[in-house]
Symmetry: C4
Subunit: 221 residues, 4 copies
C-alpha cells in the first residue's frame, strides 16, 4: 500500500487490484491443486485442517515447510522480474500495517480475516464434497478479506505469504530504507493467523459438526 | 460514500470497492452456511422466506434477532479494528443517503434493491435445488444492487446491516459530528427492505409458483 | 460515459463500473429466470434463439414487446429514483456513441458485441444443458463486451436497453440539452444487434450444428 | 499501458480493466468453444496440450495457424472500430514491455505467466472432466496473470495475441511513431510462452501424472 501511495494511485484502486490478484490466485490454485494436495498453500489453512483431524500431523509439518520455501522462492522471483527501484518501493512485497495502525488493530485484522478463510475452507471443502463452488468460495474469501483489511494490516492471512517477502526484502534492500515496523510488527502475521485457525477449527469441531447439530442440517447449496 | 469523498477517492472507485466487498461476502457466507442455516444473514431475506412458507415463523424471529445482534457485534469489532479518526470519518460504517437524495428516492432504492435480492433468493435457492450457481447469484445480486443504488441510499437492503453501525456509531461518535440524516432517514432501511420482501414474496406466491404457471416451466440453468 | 466525464471520474473507472453492473445483472437475471422464460431480457437474444428455431415465433414477438415495455418502465423508475440534475447529466441513461465515433464504428461495435453475446447464449445454453456455468458465461459476455466497446458505442447489444432510456430521456430532458447524436445515431442500437443476431444464428445453424460437425464434438466443459 | 498513461488514467485502473477484459474473455470463449475445439485460442496452450499427447500434432499445427490468422483479423477489426488517433495511441493494441523493463524481466514475466496458464489448462481441463469450474479457472488464470505481470511485459502469454496487433500496427502506424522496442523485444512473446508451455507440460508428464503419484490423488474440488 505504501508503494501504491508513492506511485500516485488511490488507496481504493490499490486494494481492488490486490484483492483480485490474491483472491483469484487462490481460487485457481485451489482449483488446480485441490485434487492433488488439497491446495492449501497456507500454513494457517494447514493448521486448521490438522486441528479438525483431516490431515496427518506429520504431513502438515512438511506442507508448512514447503509453503514457507515456496514463499521465499516466489519473493526471489519477484526480485528478478521487476526493476530494483520498484522492488524497493514495494519493500519487496512485504505485508505491512498502514500508517497509524497499532499492533492490536493489526492483530485483530489478521485474526479475523484468517478466521473467515479457514472457516470457508472447513465449511465448503472439508465438511462436504457437494459444494461445486468450494474453490471459488475459498478464493473469494481471500478477496473479501483483502478488501476489508487490506488498508489495516495488508490482509496477509498467511505466514507463508508474509515470511518470504520480508526475508528477501531484508536481503536486498538497505535496512535504513525499510520502515521501522518492517520487523517490529512482523509477528502479527504468524500469531494472528494461528489464532484465527484455532478459532475456526474450534467452532467447527465443537459446534458445527456436533452430532446433535449435524442431524438438523439440510445442505442446499 | 461521504468518507470516501473526504479521503479523496472518486465516487465510482468507492462503489466498486463496496460492491465487491458486500456482494462477494454474501456469496461466501451463503456458500459456507447455506447448508447449516440457509445462510440468510438478513432480516429481509428471512421475512421473504417466511412469507412463502419455507421457514417456521418462530425460527424466523430468532433468525432476525441473531442478525441484529450480529450486526451490532460486527460494528463493535470495526470500532476496535480501525483508528478512531477513520471510524468517525466513515460514521461508524452507517448506511446513509447521498447528499441531495430525498426520502422517496432513498426508499425506492432500498425497496427495489431488496426486491431484487429476495427475488434471487426465492428463484435460485428456495424454488429449486438444481441451480449450482445459487450462492453466486445471490451474492452477485447484492453486488449489482450496490453498483446501482450505492450512490443513492448506500444500498443496504438489510436492516441487520443498517442497525448495528448506527447504534455503535451513535455510541462512539459525538452527535454534533454526525450528519443530520444519520437518524432522520434511518427508517428507510427498515421500511424499504420490508416492502421489497413483501413484493418479491407476493410475486413468487401468486405468479411464479401458481400451478398453471409451474407446468409450463422448463428449467435450463 | 459523457456523464462520467462530467462527474470527473476517469473513463476506465466508469467502464469497469458499467461492465460489472450490466454483466452481473444479466447473470443474476438469467440464473433466476432461465428456468421460467429462458431469461432472454433482450430482443437480439430472442431474435437469435428464434432464428435457430428454439422459440415459437409468436412467443418471440410477445417476448420482444415485453422487453421494450420493461426497458421503458425501468427508465421511468430511474427518473423517480435519482435527482433530476443527475438524470439530465446521464441523458436519462441513454446509450450514446463517444465523441469522435462515427456511425460505422458504432455499428461495428454493436454488431460484434451482440454477435458475441448471442453466440454465447447459443453455445452455452441453447446447444447443451450440460454447461453448469452457462448463466455466468452469458452474463460475463456482456461484461467483456462493455469493457471492449463501452468507450465506442456504449455497448448496448440490446434494443430493449436502448429504447426506453431514449424515450424517457426525451420526455423529461429539454431537447436543447440533448447531444445531437441522441437520436441521429440511435438506429445503430437496433440494426447492429439485429445483424449480430443473424450472424451468430447463421454460424450456429450452418456450421456448428451441421451433422458432419456435430459428430466430431467432444463436450468437455 | 503506454496508451493509458497518455490518456491520464492510473496504471492500476488500466490493469484492472485489461485483466478483466482478457481473463473473462478467455472464460467465455473456453465455455462456449470448449465442447467444440477445446477452446485453445492460444498457440502456447495448443503446444502444451500437444506435449502431453492430448491433441494430434497435425491438428495442433492447424490450430496454431488459425490462432495467428484470428489474431490478425481481430487486429484489423480493431483498426476499423476505433478512431485512427486512438489506434495510434495504443500502438494498434500491441503487447509491449513497460518503460525500464529489460528483456530478461520481460522474458521471465511471459514465461511464468504462460506457465501458470498452461498448468491451469492441464490440471483443470485436460487431466480431469470432474472440475465444473475449469473454464472459469482457466480464464481467471489469465486475469491474475495480467494483474501480476501487466505492468512488466503486458502479460500476453499468447503468441497469437501478440502477432496480429504488431503486424497490423506496423501496417497502419508510421514507423517513426512506434517505440523502439515495438519490434526489438517482440521475440519474448514467442520464446517466453514456448518455455512456459514446455515447463508446465514437463511437470505434468513427469511429476503430476506419474503412476506412483496418481494413485495418491484424491480429487476434492
Amino acid at each position: 500500500m505504501q508503494a501504491q501511495a508513492i506511485l500516485g494511485t488511490s488507496m481504493f484502486d490499490g486494494i481492488l487490484h490486490a484483492a483480485f490478484a490474491h483472491g483469484i490466485c487462490i481460487f485457481i490454485l485451489v482449483s488446480a491443486f485441490g485434487g492433488i494436495s488439497g491446495g492449501h498453500i497456507n500454513p494457517a489453512v494447514t493448521l486448521g485442517v490438522a486441528l479438525v483431524g483431516k490431515i496427518n500431523p506429520l504431513h502438515a509439518v512438511f506442507y508448512i515447510l514447503s509453503q514457507l520455501a515456496g514463499g521465499f522462492l516466489g519473493a526471489l522471483l519477484v526480485r528478478l522480474s521487476i526493476p530494483p527501484e520498484t522492488f524497493q518501493i514495494i519493500y519487496g512485497g512485504a505485508t505491512l500495517c498502514s500508517p497509524g495502525v497499532n499492533w492490536m488493530q493489526g492483530l485483530i485484522a489478521e485474526t479475523m480475516t484468517t478466521f473467515m478463510l479457514v472457516q470457508s475452507v472447513l465449511l465448503t471443502a472439508v465438511d462436504t464434497d457437494r459444494n461445486g463452488l468450494a474453490a471459488l468460495a475459498i478464493g473469494f474469501t481471500v478477496l473479501v478479506d483483502v478488501l476489508a483489511a487490506g488498508n489495516i494490516s495488508g490482509a496477509s492471512m498467511n505466514p507463508g505469504r508474509s515470511f518470504g517477502p520480508n526475508i528477501v526484502g531484508a536481503l536486498f534492500i538497505r535496512s535504513t530504507l525499510l520502515p521501522t515496523h518492517f520487523w517490529s510488527l512482523h509477528w502479527i502475521y504468524y500469531i494472528g493467523p494461528a489464532i484465527g485457525a484455532f478459532l475456526a477449527a474450534g467452532i467447527f469441531r465443537f459446534v458445527v459438526t456436533q452430532p446433535g447439530n449435524i442431524e438438523k442440517r439440510n445442505l442446499k447449496f
